[in-house]
Amino acid sequence: MNMSFSYSPGDVIAPAIDWLNTNFHPLFAAISLIVETILDVLLSVLSVLPAWALIAVIALLGWKLATWRIALLVVGTLGFCWLMGLWEATLQTIALVLLAVFLSITIAFPLGIWAARNKRAEAALRPVLDIMQTVPPWVYLVPAVIIFSLGRTPALIATVVYGTPPMLRLTTLALNQVPKSFLELGEALGAPRLTTLFKIELPIAKPTLLVGLNQCILLSLAMVVLAGLVGAGGLGAEVTRGLTRMELGVGLRAGLSIVAVALLFDRLSQAALNRPIGKR
Protein backbone atom coordinates (compact mmCIF):
# COMPACT_ATOMS: atom_id res chain seq x y z
CA MET A 1 0.00 0.00 0.00
CA ASN A 2 1.53 3.20 -1.00
CA MET A 3 -0.72 6.13 -0.58
CA SER A 4 0.58 9.59 -0.56
CA PHE A 5 -1.61 12.25 0.81
CA SER A 6 -0.90 15.83 0.25
CA TYR A 7 -2.85 18.97 0.29
CA SER A 8 -1.76 22.31 -0.92
CA PRO A 9 -3.64 25.33 0.38
CA GLY A 10 -2.22 27.15 -2.62
CA ASP A 11 -4.76 25.26 -4.76
CA VAL A 12 -7.47 27.22 -3.03
CA ILE A 13 -5.71 30.47 -2.33
CA ALA A 14 -4.17 31.02 -5.76
CA PRO A 15 -7.53 31.07 -7.57
CA ALA A 16 -8.88 33.33 -4.84
CA ILE A 17 -6.04 35.77 -5.38
CA ASP A 18 -6.62 35.61 -9.14
CA TRP A 19 -10.29 36.27 -8.61
CA LEU A 20 -9.57 39.22 -6.35
CA ASN A 21 -7.10 40.53 -8.89
CA THR A 22 -9.56 40.43 -11.78
CA ASN A 23 -12.58 41.73 -9.90
CA PHE A 24 -11.06 44.28 -7.57
CA HIS A 25 -8.26 45.57 -9.70
CA PRO A 26 -9.41 49.20 -9.59
CA LEU A 27 -9.45 49.10 -5.78
CA PHE A 28 -5.91 47.73 -5.58
CA ALA A 29 -4.75 50.20 -8.14
CA ALA A 30 -6.21 52.99 -6.05
CA ILE A 31 -4.52 51.72 -2.90
CA SER A 32 -1.25 51.54 -4.78
CA LEU A 33 -1.68 55.07 -6.03
CA ILE A 34 -2.42 56.39 -2.53
CA VAL A 35 0.60 54.63 -1.01
CA GLU A 36 2.90 55.80 -3.80
CA THR A 37 1.65 59.37 -3.50
CA ILE A 38 2.09 59.50 0.28
CA LEU A 39 5.58 58.07 -0.01
CA ASP A 40 6.49 60.54 -2.74
CA VAL A 41 5.25 63.45 -0.65
CA LEU A 42 7.16 62.19 2.40
CA LEU A 43 10.27 61.75 0.34
CA SER A 44 10.06 65.19 -1.23
CA VAL A 45 9.55 66.76 2.20
CA LEU A 46 12.64 64.95 3.48
CA SER A 47 14.56 66.09 0.38
CA VAL A 48 13.71 69.78 0.65
CA LEU A 49 16.87 70.44 2.60
CA PRO A 50 20.27 69.29 1.43
CA ALA A 51 21.65 66.32 3.31
CA TRP A 52 23.94 68.28 5.65
CA ALA A 53 21.14 70.71 6.57
CA LEU A 54 18.64 67.96 7.34
CA ILE A 55 21.19 66.17 9.48
CA ALA A 56 21.88 69.43 11.32
CA VAL A 57 18.17 70.06 11.92
CA ILE A 58 17.55 66.55 13.26
CA ALA A 59 20.66 66.75 15.44
CA LEU A 60 19.49 70.05 16.86
CA LEU A 61 16.06 68.62 17.63
CA GLY A 62 17.70 65.63 19.30
CA TRP A 63 19.79 67.95 21.44
CA LYS A 64 16.83 70.06 22.48
CA LEU A 65 14.44 67.19 23.18
CA ALA A 66 16.88 64.67 24.60
CA THR A 67 20.62 64.97 25.16
CA TRP A 68 23.72 66.07 23.27
CA ARG A 69 24.64 62.39 22.98
CA ILE A 70 21.61 61.86 20.80
CA ALA A 71 22.63 64.83 18.66
CA LEU A 72 26.07 63.27 18.26
CA LEU A 73 24.49 59.96 17.32
CA VAL A 74 22.33 61.63 14.66
CA VAL A 75 25.37 63.26 13.10
CA GLY A 76 27.34 60.02 13.27
CA THR A 77 24.74 57.67 11.79
CA LEU A 78 23.12 59.86 9.16
CA GLY A 79 26.45 61.38 8.31
CA PHE A 80 27.79 57.89 7.66
CA CYS A 81 24.93 57.13 5.27
CA TRP A 82 25.60 60.40 3.46
CA LEU A 83 29.33 59.75 3.18
CA MET A 84 28.63 56.30 1.80
CA GLY A 85 26.83 58.01 -1.06
CA LEU A 86 23.58 56.37 -0.09
CA TRP A 87 21.70 59.45 1.07
CA GLU A 88 18.77 59.07 -1.30
CA ALA A 89 18.39 55.36 -0.61
CA THR A 90 18.52 56.11 3.11
CA LEU A 91 15.74 58.66 2.79
CA GLN A 92 13.64 56.18 0.81
CA THR A 93 14.08 53.59 3.52
CA ILE A 94 13.27 56.07 6.28
CA ALA A 95 10.13 57.24 4.46
CA LEU A 96 8.92 53.68 4.01
CA VAL A 97 9.62 52.81 7.65
CA LEU A 98 7.87 55.94 8.90
CA LEU A 99 4.73 55.23 6.89
CA ALA A 100 4.76 51.54 7.82
CA VAL A 101 5.18 52.31 11.53
CA PHE A 102 2.41 54.88 11.35
CA LEU A 103 0.05 52.34 9.78
CA SER A 104 1.09 49.61 12.22
CA ILE A 105 0.31 51.88 15.16
CA THR A 106 -3.00 52.90 13.64
CA ILE A 107 -3.97 49.24 13.41
CA ALA A 108 -2.29 47.88 16.53
CA PHE A 109 -3.25 50.55 19.02
CA PRO A 110 -7.06 50.32 18.95
CA LEU A 111 -6.96 46.55 18.54
CA GLY A 112 -4.52 46.28 21.41
CA ILE A 113 -6.80 48.33 23.64
CA TRP A 114 -9.75 46.21 22.59
CA ALA A 115 -7.86 43.02 23.41
CA ALA A 116 -6.94 44.42 26.82
CA ARG A 117 -10.60 45.13 27.54
CA ASN A 118 -12.03 41.94 26.16
CA LYS A 119 -10.62 38.52 26.98
CA ARG A 120 -12.38 36.92 24.00
CA ALA A 121 -10.95 39.43 21.57
CA GLU A 122 -7.52 38.71 22.97
CA ALA A 123 -8.02 34.96 22.54
CA ALA A 124 -9.20 35.47 18.97
CA LEU A 125 -6.33 37.78 18.06
CA ARG A 126 -3.56 35.67 19.52
CA PRO A 127 -3.39 32.93 16.84
CA VAL A 128 -3.61 35.57 14.11
CA LEU A 129 -0.67 37.40 15.63
CA ASP A 130 1.26 34.15 16.00
CA ILE A 131 0.79 33.42 12.32
CA MET A 132 1.74 36.96 11.30
CA GLN A 133 4.95 36.73 13.25
CA THR A 134 6.03 33.20 12.34
CA VAL A 135 5.14 32.77 8.68
CA PRO A 136 8.28 33.68 6.72
CA PRO A 137 7.72 37.12 5.19
CA TRP A 138 8.50 35.90 1.66
CA VAL A 139 5.33 33.86 1.80
CA TYR A 140 3.00 36.78 2.04
CA LEU A 141 5.15 38.91 -0.19
CA VAL A 142 4.04 36.62 -3.04
CA PRO A 143 0.30 37.38 -2.98
CA ALA A 144 1.05 41.02 -2.18
CA VAL A 145 3.20 41.22 -5.30
CA ILE A 146 0.58 39.41 -7.38
CA ILE A 147 -2.06 41.89 -6.31
CA PHE A 148 -0.08 45.11 -6.22
CA SER A 149 2.75 44.13 -8.61
CA LEU A 150 6.35 44.96 -7.81
CA GLY A 151 7.08 48.17 -5.98
CA ARG A 152 6.71 49.92 -2.69
CA THR A 153 3.09 49.01 -1.95
CA PRO A 154 3.58 45.24 -1.44
CA ALA A 155 6.71 46.06 0.54
CA LEU A 156 4.71 48.39 2.75
CA ILE A 157 1.99 45.82 3.30
CA ALA A 158 4.47 43.11 4.19
CA THR A 159 6.17 45.52 6.58
CA VAL A 160 2.93 46.46 8.28
CA VAL A 161 2.00 42.79 8.66
CA TYR A 162 5.35 42.21 10.30
CA GLY A 163 5.44 45.33 12.46
CA THR A 164 1.90 45.26 13.82
CA PRO A 165 2.00 42.18 16.13
CA PRO A 166 4.65 43.37 18.60
CA MET A 167 2.99 46.77 18.91
CA LEU A 168 -0.39 45.12 19.43
CA ARG A 169 0.84 42.61 21.99
CA LEU A 170 2.69 45.22 23.98
CA THR A 171 -0.26 47.61 23.89
CA THR A 172 -2.42 44.89 25.45
CA LEU A 173 0.28 44.01 27.95
CA ALA A 174 0.85 47.65 28.83
CA LEU A 175 -2.82 48.24 29.59
CA ASN A 176 -3.21 45.00 31.50
CA GLN A 177 -0.29 46.03 33.69
CA VAL A 178 -2.02 49.17 34.91
CA PRO A 179 -2.98 48.39 38.52
CA LYS A 180 -6.71 47.87 39.08
CA SER A 181 -6.76 50.56 41.73
CA PHE A 182 -6.08 53.21 39.09
CA LEU A 183 -9.11 52.08 37.12
CA GLU A 184 -11.12 52.32 40.33
CA LEU A 185 -9.72 55.78 40.87
CA GLY A 186 -11.04 56.89 37.48
CA GLU A 187 -14.45 55.45 38.27
CA ALA A 188 -14.55 56.88 41.77
CA LEU A 189 -13.74 60.35 40.42
CA GLY A 190 -16.66 60.07 38.02
CA ALA A 191 -14.41 60.08 34.96
CA PRO A 192 -15.84 58.87 31.65
CA ARG A 193 -14.05 55.83 30.21
CA LEU A 194 -12.15 57.75 27.56
CA THR A 195 -10.87 60.19 30.16
CA THR A 196 -9.70 57.26 32.26
CA LEU A 197 -8.00 55.77 29.20
CA PHE A 198 -6.20 58.90 28.08
CA LYS A 199 -5.42 60.56 31.40
CA ILE A 200 -4.79 57.57 33.64
CA GLU A 201 -4.16 54.33 31.76
CA LEU A 202 -2.08 55.45 28.80
CA PRO A 203 0.30 57.66 30.80
CA ILE A 204 0.91 54.83 33.26
CA ALA A 205 1.28 52.33 30.41
CA LYS A 206 3.62 54.63 28.49
CA PRO A 207 6.94 52.89 29.22
CA THR A 208 5.65 49.53 27.94
CA LEU A 209 3.97 51.23 24.98
CA LEU A 210 7.29 52.78 24.02
CA VAL A 211 8.94 49.36 24.16
CA GLY A 212 6.26 48.24 21.70
CA LEU A 213 7.01 51.22 19.48
CA ASN A 214 10.71 50.42 19.60
CA GLN A 215 10.08 46.82 18.56
CA CYS A 216 7.70 47.92 15.85
CA ILE A 217 10.26 50.32 14.38
CA LEU A 218 13.14 47.83 14.40
CA LEU A 219 11.11 44.97 12.90
CA SER A 220 9.72 47.32 10.27
CA LEU A 221 13.22 48.38 9.36
CA ALA A 222 14.33 44.78 9.05
CA MET A 223 11.38 44.04 6.80
CA VAL A 224 11.84 47.12 4.64
CA VAL A 225 15.31 45.92 3.86
CA LEU A 226 14.01 42.52 2.88
CA ALA A 227 11.43 44.24 0.72
CA GLY A 228 14.25 45.49 -1.47
CA LEU A 229 13.72 42.10 -3.16
CA VAL A 230 10.36 43.20 -4.52
CA GLY A 231 11.50 46.50 -5.87
CA ALA A 232 10.84 48.76 -2.94
CA GLY A 233 14.04 50.68 -3.54
CA GLY A 234 15.99 52.19 -0.67
CA LEU A 235 18.89 50.58 1.14
CA GLY A 236 17.33 47.15 0.69
CA ALA A 237 17.65 47.51 -3.07
CA GLU A 238 21.36 48.31 -2.66
CA VAL A 239 21.86 45.20 -0.57
CA THR A 240 20.02 43.12 -3.17
CA ARG A 241 22.19 44.65 -5.88
CA GLY A 242 25.32 43.77 -3.97
CA LEU A 243 24.06 40.23 -3.52
CA THR A 244 22.99 39.55 -7.10
CA ARG A 245 26.14 41.06 -8.59
CA MET A 246 28.40 39.57 -5.96
CA GLU A 247 29.82 43.01 -5.19
CA LEU A 248 30.92 42.96 -1.62
CA GLY A 249 31.61 46.70 -1.52
CA VAL A 250 28.08 47.69 -2.51
CA GLY A 251 26.49 45.20 -0.17
CA LEU A 252 28.71 46.17 2.73
CA ARG A 253 28.14 49.88 2.38
CA ALA A 254 24.37 49.44 2.23
CA GLY A 255 24.46 46.92 5.06
CA LEU A 256 26.40 49.24 7.34
CA SER A 257 24.08 52.11 6.46
CA ILE A 258 21.14 49.95 7.51
CA VAL A 259 22.87 49.27 10.80
CA ALA A 260 23.38 53.01 11.24
CA VAL A 261 19.72 53.80 10.59
CA ALA A 262 18.62 50.98 12.91
CA LEU A 263 20.93 52.26 15.63
CA LEU A 264 19.53 55.76 15.24
CA PHE A 265 15.89 54.67 15.39
CA ASP A 266 16.54 52.40 18.35
CA ARG A 267 18.35 55.03 20.38
CA LEU A 268 15.80 57.70 19.53
CA SER A 269 12.89 55.59 20.78
CA GLN A 270 14.94 54.52 23.81
CA ALA A 271 15.59 58.16 24.60
CA ALA A 272 11.86 58.79 24.57
CA LEU A 273 11.47 55.85 26.95
CA ASN A 274 14.14 56.96 29.37
CA ARG A 275 13.06 60.54 29.63
CA PRO A 276 13.07 61.31 33.33
CA ILE A 277 9.75 62.18 34.94
CA GLY A 278 9.43 65.88 35.40
CA LYS A 279 11.36 66.88 32.31
CA ARG A 280 9.15 68.55 29.78
Binding site: S181, F182, A188, L189, G190, K199, I200, I204, I277, G278
Partner: protein, 357 residues
Amino acid sequence: MENEPLIECKSVWKIFGDRSDAAIRAVKERGIGKAEVMQEFNCVVGVADVSLGLGKGEILCVMGLSGSGKSTLIRLFNRLIEPSLGQMLLHGEDIGSMSLERLREVRAKKVGMVFQSVTLLPHRTVLENAAFGLEVQKIDKARRHEIAGAALAKVGLGDWLNRYPHELSGGMQQRVGLARALASDPEIILMDEPFSALDPLIRRQLQNEFRQLSKELGKSALFITHDLDEAIRLGDRIAVMKDGAVVQLGTAEDIVLRPKDAYVEDFVAGVSRLHLVKAHSVMHHVGDFQSRQPGVNPATLPAVPVDAELDTLIQLMTKGHQDSVAVTDAGKLVGVVTLRSLLQGVRGREPTEEIAL
Protein backbone atom coordinates in the same frame (compact mmCIF):
# COMPACT_ATOMS: atom_id res chain seq x y z
CA MET B 1 -26.09 60.25 65.94
CA GLU B 2 -29.71 59.65 65.34
CA ASN B 3 -30.08 62.52 62.88
CA GLU B 4 -31.22 61.88 59.30
CA PRO B 5 -28.49 59.83 57.62
CA LEU B 6 -26.73 61.39 54.63
CA ILE B 7 -26.08 58.08 53.03
CA GLU B 8 -27.37 54.71 54.09
CA CYS B 9 -27.67 51.15 52.97
CA LYS B 10 -30.78 49.12 53.67
CA SER B 11 -30.55 45.33 53.86
CA VAL B 12 -27.84 45.28 51.23
CA TRP B 13 -26.45 42.03 49.90
CA LYS B 14 -23.59 41.31 47.57
CA ILE B 15 -23.34 37.73 46.41
CA PHE B 16 -20.59 36.49 44.09
CA GLY B 17 -20.54 33.20 42.23
CA ASP B 18 -21.84 31.29 39.22
CA ARG B 19 -25.25 30.78 40.75
CA SER B 20 -25.56 34.17 42.35
CA ASP B 21 -28.76 34.99 40.41
CA ALA B 22 -30.55 31.99 41.86
CA ALA B 23 -29.18 32.76 45.29
CA ILE B 24 -30.40 36.36 45.11
CA ARG B 25 -33.86 35.17 44.10
CA ALA B 26 -33.93 32.76 47.02
CA VAL B 27 -32.94 35.52 49.42
CA LYS B 28 -35.64 37.77 48.03
CA GLU B 29 -38.41 35.18 47.90
CA ARG B 30 -37.69 32.88 50.77
CA GLY B 31 -35.66 35.23 52.93
CA ILE B 32 -32.90 32.67 53.48
CA GLY B 33 -29.82 33.69 55.42
CA LYS B 34 -26.14 33.84 54.70
CA ALA B 35 -25.41 30.27 55.76
CA GLU B 36 -28.05 28.85 53.42
CA VAL B 37 -26.82 30.94 50.52
CA MET B 38 -23.35 29.54 50.93
CA GLN B 39 -24.56 26.00 51.44
CA GLU B 40 -27.32 25.74 48.84
CA PHE B 41 -25.81 27.80 46.06
CA ASN B 42 -22.11 27.53 46.74
CA CYS B 43 -21.83 31.30 46.44
CA VAL B 44 -19.47 33.67 48.16
CA VAL B 45 -21.32 36.19 50.24
CA GLY B 46 -19.45 39.49 50.20
CA VAL B 47 -22.00 41.49 52.10
CA ALA B 48 -24.96 39.94 53.88
CA ASP B 49 -28.01 41.96 54.82
CA VAL B 50 -26.16 45.05 56.01
CA SER B 51 -28.01 48.18 57.07
CA LEU B 52 -25.91 51.20 58.00
CA GLY B 53 -26.50 54.90 58.02
CA LEU B 54 -23.87 57.61 58.00
CA GLY B 55 -24.93 60.83 59.69
CA LYS B 56 -23.83 64.34 58.82
CA GLY B 57 -20.36 65.07 60.17
CA GLU B 58 -19.99 61.56 61.49
CA ILE B 59 -17.02 59.28 61.15
CA LEU B 60 -18.18 55.69 60.99
CA CYS B 61 -15.46 53.07 61.12
CA VAL B 62 -16.11 49.68 59.62
CA MET B 63 -13.76 47.22 61.18
CA GLY B 64 -13.11 43.63 60.30
CA LEU B 65 -10.39 41.20 59.34
CA SER B 66 -9.48 40.64 55.72
CA GLY B 67 -12.21 38.75 53.94
CA SER B 68 -14.91 40.13 56.19
CA GLY B 69 -16.44 42.06 53.30
CA LYS B 70 -15.54 45.56 54.41
CA SER B 71 -13.84 46.51 51.13
CA THR B 72 -16.85 45.22 49.22
CA LEU B 73 -19.18 47.15 51.47
CA ILE B 74 -17.44 50.49 50.97
CA ARG B 75 -17.53 50.03 47.19
CA LEU B 76 -21.28 49.63 47.33
CA PHE B 77 -21.53 53.18 48.66
CA ASN B 78 -20.32 54.72 45.39
CA ARG B 79 -21.43 51.76 43.28
CA LEU B 80 -17.98 50.69 42.21
CA ILE B 81 -19.65 47.37 42.96
CA GLU B 82 -23.32 46.86 42.13
CA PRO B 83 -25.38 45.64 45.07
CA SER B 84 -27.11 42.29 44.49
CA LEU B 85 -30.04 43.23 46.63
CA GLY B 86 -31.17 46.06 48.84
CA GLN B 87 -31.01 49.80 48.58
CA MET B 88 -28.27 52.38 48.78
CA LEU B 89 -29.69 55.81 49.51
CA LEU B 90 -27.95 59.19 49.22
CA HIS B 91 -30.22 61.89 50.63
CA GLY B 92 -33.03 59.43 50.01
CA GLU B 93 -32.09 59.01 46.33
CA ASP B 94 -31.44 55.43 45.27
CA ILE B 95 -27.83 55.15 44.11
CA GLY B 96 -28.51 51.77 42.56
CA SER B 97 -30.99 53.15 40.04
CA MET B 98 -29.09 56.31 39.11
CA SER B 99 -28.28 56.86 35.44
CA LEU B 100 -24.61 56.60 34.53
CA GLU B 101 -24.47 60.35 34.10
CA ARG B 102 -26.02 61.08 37.48
CA LEU B 103 -23.78 58.48 39.10
CA ARG B 104 -20.69 60.16 37.64
CA GLU B 105 -21.86 63.51 38.94
CA VAL B 106 -22.41 62.04 42.41
CA ARG B 107 -19.00 60.40 42.40
CA ALA B 108 -17.32 63.56 41.19
CA LYS B 109 -18.99 65.99 43.58
CA LYS B 110 -20.63 64.22 46.51
CA VAL B 111 -18.74 61.10 47.39
CA GLY B 112 -14.94 61.19 47.42
CA MET B 113 -12.72 58.18 47.89
CA VAL B 114 -9.22 57.51 49.19
CA PHE B 115 -7.63 54.17 48.42
CA GLN B 116 -5.37 51.82 50.31
CA SER B 117 -2.74 51.70 47.61
CA VAL B 118 -1.20 54.94 46.50
CA THR B 119 -3.05 55.95 43.36
CA LEU B 120 -1.11 59.02 42.40
CA LEU B 121 -0.28 59.47 38.74
CA PRO B 122 3.52 59.27 38.54
CA HIS B 123 3.86 61.67 35.63
CA ARG B 124 1.98 64.49 37.32
CA THR B 125 3.11 66.87 40.03
CA VAL B 126 1.58 66.84 43.48
CA LEU B 127 -0.53 69.84 42.54
CA GLU B 128 -1.74 68.28 39.31
CA ASN B 129 -2.57 65.07 41.15
CA ALA B 130 -4.59 66.90 43.77
CA ALA B 131 -6.37 68.81 41.00
CA PHE B 132 -7.09 65.69 38.97
CA GLY B 133 -10.64 65.20 40.23
CA LEU B 134 -11.44 68.78 39.29
CA GLU B 135 -9.78 68.29 35.92
CA VAL B 136 -12.13 65.39 35.28
CA GLN B 137 -14.97 67.78 36.10
CA LYS B 138 -13.58 70.13 33.42
CA ILE B 139 -12.88 72.99 35.78
CA ASP B 140 -10.41 75.40 34.20
CA LYS B 141 -6.76 75.17 35.11
CA ALA B 142 -6.28 78.34 37.14
CA ARG B 143 -9.34 77.62 39.26
CA ARG B 144 -8.59 73.95 39.86
CA HIS B 145 -4.99 74.67 40.78
CA GLU B 146 -6.16 77.27 43.25
CA ILE B 147 -8.60 74.85 44.91
CA ALA B 148 -6.13 71.97 44.87
CA GLY B 149 -3.42 74.20 46.31
CA ALA B 150 -5.71 75.12 49.18
CA ALA B 151 -6.57 71.45 49.79
CA LEU B 152 -2.87 70.56 49.83
CA ALA B 153 -2.22 73.34 52.31
CA LYS B 154 -4.90 71.83 54.56
CA VAL B 155 -3.11 68.49 54.63
CA GLY B 156 0.22 70.20 55.26
CA LEU B 157 1.75 69.87 51.82
CA GLY B 158 1.64 73.52 50.81
CA ASP B 159 5.36 73.53 50.05
CA TRP B 160 5.37 70.44 47.88
CA LEU B 161 3.15 71.51 45.00
CA ASN B 162 5.66 71.06 42.21
CA ARG B 163 7.23 67.84 43.40
CA TYR B 164 6.49 64.46 41.87
CA PRO B 165 4.90 61.59 43.80
CA HIS B 166 8.10 59.51 43.82
CA GLU B 167 9.81 62.29 45.76
CA LEU B 168 7.30 61.93 48.63
CA SER B 169 7.18 59.53 51.56
CA GLY B 170 4.28 57.07 51.86
CA GLY B 171 2.51 59.21 54.42
CA MET B 172 2.80 62.29 52.25
CA GLN B 173 1.51 60.40 49.24
CA GLN B 174 -1.61 59.43 51.16
CA ARG B 175 -2.06 63.06 52.16
CA VAL B 176 -2.06 63.97 48.48
CA GLY B 177 -4.75 61.31 47.94
CA LEU B 178 -6.76 62.88 50.75
CA ALA B 179 -6.25 66.37 49.29
CA ARG B 180 -7.46 65.11 45.93
CA ALA B 181 -10.64 63.82 47.57
CA LEU B 182 -11.11 67.04 49.56
CA ALA B 183 -10.57 69.30 46.54
CA SER B 184 -13.92 68.26 45.07
CA ASP B 185 -15.54 69.30 48.36
CA PRO B 186 -17.59 66.11 48.74
CA GLU B 187 -20.06 65.62 51.56
CA ILE B 188 -18.91 62.09 52.12
CA ILE B 189 -15.45 60.62 52.00
CA LEU B 190 -14.96 56.88 51.62
CA MET B 191 -11.67 55.85 53.16
CA ASP B 192 -10.58 52.35 52.13
CA GLU B 193 -7.86 51.44 54.63
CA PRO B 194 -5.87 54.49 53.61
CA PHE B 195 -3.32 54.34 56.39
CA SER B 196 -2.79 50.62 56.74
CA ALA B 197 0.46 50.52 54.77
CA LEU B 198 2.09 53.26 56.82
CA ASP B 199 4.36 52.85 59.80
CA PRO B 200 2.69 53.20 63.22
CA LEU B 201 3.90 56.68 64.13
CA ILE B 202 2.97 58.27 60.82
CA ARG B 203 -0.30 56.35 60.91
CA ARG B 204 -1.28 57.79 64.27
CA GLN B 205 -0.33 61.27 63.15
CA LEU B 206 -2.46 60.96 60.02
CA GLN B 207 -5.36 59.54 62.02
CA ASN B 208 -5.37 62.53 64.33
CA GLU B 209 -5.05 64.96 61.46
CA PHE B 210 -7.77 63.25 59.50
CA ARG B 211 -10.19 63.31 62.41
CA GLN B 212 -9.47 66.94 63.14
CA LEU B 213 -9.75 67.95 59.49
CA SER B 214 -12.97 66.13 58.76
CA LYS B 215 -14.59 67.53 61.91
CA GLU B 216 -13.37 71.01 61.01
CA LEU B 217 -14.75 70.76 57.48
CA GLY B 218 -17.90 68.99 58.59
CA LYS B 219 -17.28 66.00 56.33
CA SER B 220 -18.85 62.63 56.89
CA ALA B 221 -16.58 59.66 56.47
CA LEU B 222 -16.92 55.95 56.13
CA PHE B 223 -13.59 54.60 57.23
CA ILE B 224 -12.55 51.02 56.58
CA THR B 225 -9.88 49.51 58.78
CA HIS B 226 -8.67 46.20 60.19
CA ASP B 227 -7.08 47.93 63.13
CA LEU B 228 -9.25 48.29 66.23
CA ASP B 229 -7.05 51.01 67.70
CA GLU B 230 -7.53 53.02 64.53
CA ALA B 231 -11.27 52.49 64.63
CA ILE B 232 -11.38 53.61 68.27
CA ARG B 233 -9.23 56.65 67.68
CA LEU B 234 -11.20 57.80 64.64
CA GLY B 235 -14.73 56.53 64.81
CA ASP B 236 -17.71 58.22 66.33
CA ARG B 237 -19.26 54.82 65.87
CA ILE B 238 -17.76 51.50 64.95
CA ALA B 239 -19.33 48.69 62.95
CA VAL B 240 -17.65 45.33 63.47
CA MET B 241 -17.95 43.06 60.44
CA LYS B 242 -17.56 39.33 60.22
CA ASP B 243 -18.20 37.16 57.17
CA GLY B 244 -20.04 39.93 55.36
CA ALA B 245 -22.40 40.81 58.18
CA VAL B 246 -22.27 43.60 60.74
CA VAL B 247 -21.95 41.88 64.11
CA GLN B 248 -22.12 44.95 66.27
CA LEU B 249 -22.63 48.65 65.73
CA GLY B 250 -21.99 51.18 68.44
CA THR B 251 -19.58 53.61 70.04
CA ALA B 252 -16.09 52.47 70.91
CA GLU B 253 -17.04 52.39 74.58
CA ASP B 254 -20.11 50.28 73.79
CA ILE B 255 -18.15 47.75 71.87
CA VAL B 256 -15.35 47.46 74.37
CA LEU B 257 -17.54 47.34 77.47
CA ARG B 258 -20.46 45.39 76.06
CA PRO B 259 -19.23 43.13 73.25
CA LYS B 260 -22.17 41.36 71.69
CA ASP B 261 -20.55 38.00 71.12
CA ALA B 262 -17.37 36.04 71.63
CA TYR B 263 -15.96 37.26 68.31
CA VAL B 264 -16.15 40.92 69.27
CA GLU B 265 -15.00 40.10 72.78
CA ASP B 266 -11.89 38.47 71.35
CA PHE B 267 -11.31 41.48 69.21
CA VAL B 268 -11.46 43.99 72.03
CA ALA B 269 -9.64 41.82 74.55
CA GLY B 270 -6.28 43.50 74.13
CA VAL B 271 -7.45 47.06 73.87
CA SER B 272 -6.41 49.49 76.56
CA ARG B 273 -9.42 50.97 78.31
CA LEU B 274 -7.53 53.90 79.79
CA HIS B 275 -8.55 56.46 77.19
CA LEU B 276 -11.70 54.75 76.08
CA VAL B 277 -13.88 54.09 79.07
CA LYS B 278 -15.36 57.14 80.74
CA ALA B 279 -16.10 57.78 84.39
CA HIS B 280 -19.85 57.32 84.02
CA SER B 281 -19.34 53.71 82.94
CA VAL B 282 -17.45 52.71 86.07
CA MET B 283 -19.12 54.85 88.73
CA HIS B 284 -21.64 53.85 91.36
CA HIS B 285 -24.71 56.02 91.48
CA VAL B 286 -24.51 58.49 94.25
CA GLY B 287 -27.58 57.09 96.05
CA ASP B 288 -26.22 53.52 96.05
CA PHE B 289 -22.89 54.74 97.27
CA GLN B 290 -24.28 56.74 100.12
CA SER B 291 -26.54 53.98 101.35
CA ARG B 292 -23.64 51.52 101.45
CA GLN B 293 -20.92 53.88 102.59
CA PRO B 294 -22.64 56.39 104.86
CA GLY B 295 -19.33 57.27 106.49
CA VAL B 296 -17.95 59.01 103.41
CA ASN B 297 -19.16 62.38 102.29
CA PRO B 298 -18.85 62.52 98.47
CA ALA B 299 -18.68 66.30 98.58
CA THR B 300 -15.23 66.09 100.14
CA LEU B 301 -13.85 63.88 97.38
CA PRO B 302 -11.96 65.22 94.38
CA ALA B 303 -14.44 65.57 91.48
CA VAL B 304 -14.28 64.85 87.76
CA PRO B 305 -16.86 65.28 84.97
CA VAL B 306 -18.79 62.23 83.68
CA ASP B 307 -16.73 61.97 80.51
CA ALA B 308 -13.37 61.89 82.31
CA GLU B 309 -11.18 59.03 81.09
CA LEU B 310 -10.02 56.21 83.33
CA ASP B 311 -6.53 57.54 82.91
CA THR B 312 -7.52 60.80 84.60
CA LEU B 313 -9.16 58.89 87.47
CA ILE B 314 -6.04 56.84 88.03
CA GLN B 315 -3.90 59.96 88.11
CA LEU B 316 -6.18 61.55 90.68
CA MET B 317 -6.25 58.51 92.94
CA THR B 318 -2.52 57.85 92.80
CA LYS B 319 -1.69 61.47 93.52
CA GLY B 320 -4.15 62.06 96.37
CA HIS B 321 -4.94 60.11 99.50
CA GLN B 322 -8.53 59.32 98.65
CA ASP B 323 -9.55 55.96 97.31
CA SER B 324 -12.69 57.40 95.73
CA VAL B 325 -13.46 60.14 93.23
CA ALA B 326 -16.76 61.97 92.84
CA VAL B 327 -18.31 62.22 89.39
CA THR B 328 -20.25 65.32 88.46
CA ASP B 329 -22.51 66.13 85.55
CA ALA B 330 -22.72 69.86 84.86
CA GLY B 331 -21.59 70.55 88.42
CA LYS B 332 -24.12 68.20 90.02
CA LEU B 333 -22.91 65.14 91.90
CA VAL B 334 -24.10 61.99 90.13
CA GLY B 335 -21.82 59.20 91.28
CA VAL B 336 -18.64 57.94 92.86
CA VAL B 337 -15.81 55.86 91.43
CA THR B 338 -14.14 53.62 93.96
CA LEU B 339 -10.77 51.98 93.60
CA ARG B 340 -12.48 48.64 93.08
CA SER B 341 -14.86 49.86 90.38
CA LEU B 342 -11.97 51.61 88.67
CA LEU B 343 -9.95 48.40 88.53
CA GLN B 344 -12.94 46.56 87.14
CA GLY B 345 -13.25 49.26 84.51
CA VAL B 346 -9.62 48.80 83.52
CA ARG B 347 -10.36 45.13 82.95
CA GLY B 348 -13.34 46.10 80.84
CA ARG B 349 -16.21 45.25 83.20
CA GLU B 350 -18.99 47.35 84.53
CA PRO B 351 -19.04 47.88 88.29
CA THR B 352 -20.54 45.09 90.41
CA GLU B 353 -23.17 45.62 93.03
CA GLU B 354 -20.80 45.39 95.90
CA ILE B 355 -19.45 48.68 96.99
CA ALA B 356 -16.30 48.67 99.01
CA LEU B 357 -13.51 51.09 99.46
